[in-house]
Symmetry: C2
Subunit: 244 residues, 2 copies
DNA sequence: GATTATAATATTGTATACAATTTGGCACGA
DNA sequence: TCGTGCCAAATTGTATACAATATTATAATC
């Protein structure tokens, strides 16, 4: 959440090391990777020795993650990784649609030509990866494209809010393990809003991005409501292989 | 930020008391009331004895407020109350416009007749308070109306995000001490979107709310860029008297 | 006199010890 | 057999003590 702010500070001296800050990033990664599954309890002492730190910075990290909505704190009863609820994800997507639209509109207004050129290159890469069937790479490029669009909006508040919701949605995606039917459709939608971007059509780009988000929401929530298929590989650390 | 979540939990036993949680609310109120002015340093020990708690819960509270963007943490250099930057407020309002639009649209779709009736009563109260020149009361009712609209949207994610931004905007408002020319205009805009609400016209209501937010943004930012007039009363605890 | 190096002070970051609350089990009784 | 009350263990919440870093003051040098 405060990653934006630190990036904005141009001269970050040498290191940015406080244990609780590292703990936040570490725990957030563990939650997003599914290493700490939703609903699982988070015993403090166990995590402490696992991370090699004391309880004090760990607890500070848990408070931050609670504020981000990734864990829930129950007084005197410990912390649990926030469960992924289909209704909540639906609500998040409703807001996300509006944010995507705003990002698209502002990106047209504020993005530089160099950035639009870069966006075009990324889109080309996306198409290539789709044709080659490289799902993991496609998925990563997809996220980078959307992040690039948000960055082009030149709005730190939007960027931070977007990042928070994107994280929760990412978690839902990797859980739902959805994708198959949606891949081709998603690429087509990307093609659509890229055309609008090339014309710098702010309204159209925003509308298409919002629509893209809405359709993604339908697919994710549908997959989320169905029993998740058992994964083949190891549970922790598997690359999410779903299409945006 | 997590107020929503706790409200969602139907049966909250009896008390909800942890010192760090109380400290968060206390500090947040102090910041929003201007008791801790933007840019001021936040020495831990001093606040500890002021709140009658130890450093541990206070520090946890500071981490949460940092995650909310109300304070900035500089490693080994202490915490400062986040300064109110006109550019940042402008960015926040850009997002707020989109959220207001979304709230208006969803409220039309999901609000109950009883809620719309209540909204109507609140609006009547607003008009009365405007005519009577009761600024502080008007300002409170104004906030309650917008909160009511957001609540009618039935979207916890929207509600939480909205609350976070509203807090920062509130802080900017009380600092800028703007209002005079905008009061009548604001009431007229309220009248406008209330008409749309009575027709349950989701698109129109959302559009008018977004426009209302945008116009408020212009007034606030303009006031923020001008040197704030010296206040008459005491600096801390004065009721903000600006119009929405 | 200005500037830089150095040391003293103060403040923050972390670890550990203690207090409070919840949870699970067990005995007791209906 | 089920329910209630109580006790013990475990875990969380808080306070304090210690370590590390930054800030300020002082002094030495140019």
């Amino acid at each position: 959440m405060d990653r934006i702010k630190t990036m904005k500070a141009a001269a970050r001296p040498i290191r940015r090391a406080t244990l609780h800050h590292s703990a936040v990033e570490e725990l957030r990664a563990m939650i997003l990777d599914g290493e700490l599954p939703p609903g699982s309890r988070v015993p403090e002492v166990q995590l402490c020795e696992q991370l090699g730190i004391s309880r004090t910075p760990l607890r500070e990290a848990l408070r931050v993650l609670s504020s981000e909505g990734l864990v829930e704190l129950r007084p005197h009863r410990g912390a649990v990784v926030a469960p992924v609820d289909a209704n909540e994800i639906g609500a998040i997507f409703e807001v996300m649609d509006a944010l995507e639209r705003l990002a698209g509109t502002l990106a047209c207004r504020n993005g530089s030509d160099a950035e639009f050129a870069k966006l075009d290159r990324m889109h080309g890469q996306l198409v290539t990866q789709h044709e080659a069937g490289e799902r993991a790479a496609y998925f990563l490029t997809n996220r980078q494209i959307h992040a690039q669009i948000v960055a082009m909006a030149r709005n730190p508040a939007l960027e931070a809010t977007y990042a928070g919701f994107a994280a929760k949605i990412l978690r839902a995606r990797s859980l739902a393990n959805y994708d198959t039917g949606r891949w081709q459709e998603s690429v087509d939608e990307h093609e659509g809003f890229m055309k609008a971007f090339r014309r710098r059509d702010a309204e159209e780009a925003g509308a298409l991005l919002a629509d893209h988000s809405r359709r993604t929401a339908v697919a994710v929530i549908q997959a989320l409501r169905q029993p998740a298929e058992p994964e083949e590989g190891t549970a922790a650390g598997t690359e999410p292989a779903n299409a945006g």
